[in-house]
Amino acid sequence: MDDPLVIGDRQYSSRLITGTGGASNLAVLERALKASGTELTTVSIRRVDTAGGTGVLEVLERLGIDPLPNTAGCRTAAEAVLTARMAREALGTSWVKLEVVADDRTLLPDPVELLDAAATLVDDGFTVLPYTNDDPVLALRLEELGCAAVMPLGSPIGTGLGIRNPHNIELIVARANVPVILDAGIGTASDAALAMELGCAAVLLATSVTRATDPEAMATAMRHAVLGGRLAHGAGRVPQRFWAQASSPPR
């Protein structure tokens, strides 16, 4: 595998992790997931609807995509830990996207509860991928606790505001020894490319694809954006200059 994304004991060839939330139906979701080329995708854990099936899992199975259960909706460490343990039994995976949010208006991570939950889950043998603020100090603390990756937000979930503090993302990347995955806030392809140019190991997005007018086309765009951003990061960009510098010979 060329330039694989390594998280914990797994390797992926795709550096785009897509979420399943927000798609209008499973057929649209399936086409978008396929177009994105993703190999890992988030699902939420909720009460069963005895009338419905486990449709989303069947889609993931058919496409050969690993499920990454999240703890969306949890406000406390205790809720998140219970949800992660339920997910482990339901899906047979010890991987979890750990989300502990402070309130419904911002959906910003609650750092105190997040650290508490991360510590408990790491001790319990989980591979923890925490959704965190774009805070370099918190990112380091999560890594020190034993998280397998850190996933800072670009901007709040579902806003599509892109990366509001690129320098903080670069600071997180500069000190991390685990993959940094830009999670939340991606609006369009240029945001995903920027995340990769800043040195992120991967991008996690959902809304920007599932709620786009044409989810399949946007998923394709995101796949190319992540590839392009990754290549550009490794290619060594030219320095930014204040004054022009001719690229054609003088005569």
């Binding site: 699902v43 009460r47 069963v48 486990t54 499920p67 969306a72 039994e89 339901a90």
Partner: protein, 66 residues
Amino acid sequence: MFVRINGAERAVPDGATVTEMLAALGVPARGVAVAIDGAVVARTDHDRTVVPDGADVEVLTAVQGG
């Protein structure tokens, strides 16, 4: 006997195990997790864990999200 399943009172056979309860509810055994009175029941214990009368049961599964 009666138990509360996901907040609603439901009748299940007396002495039912978790596996039997799920079957009685018509819930597929794959892809679900069960907690009884706030404690997660390991998947490997579904066949031998008896659901107590009056228990508060949560049955969860994966849905689109995140």
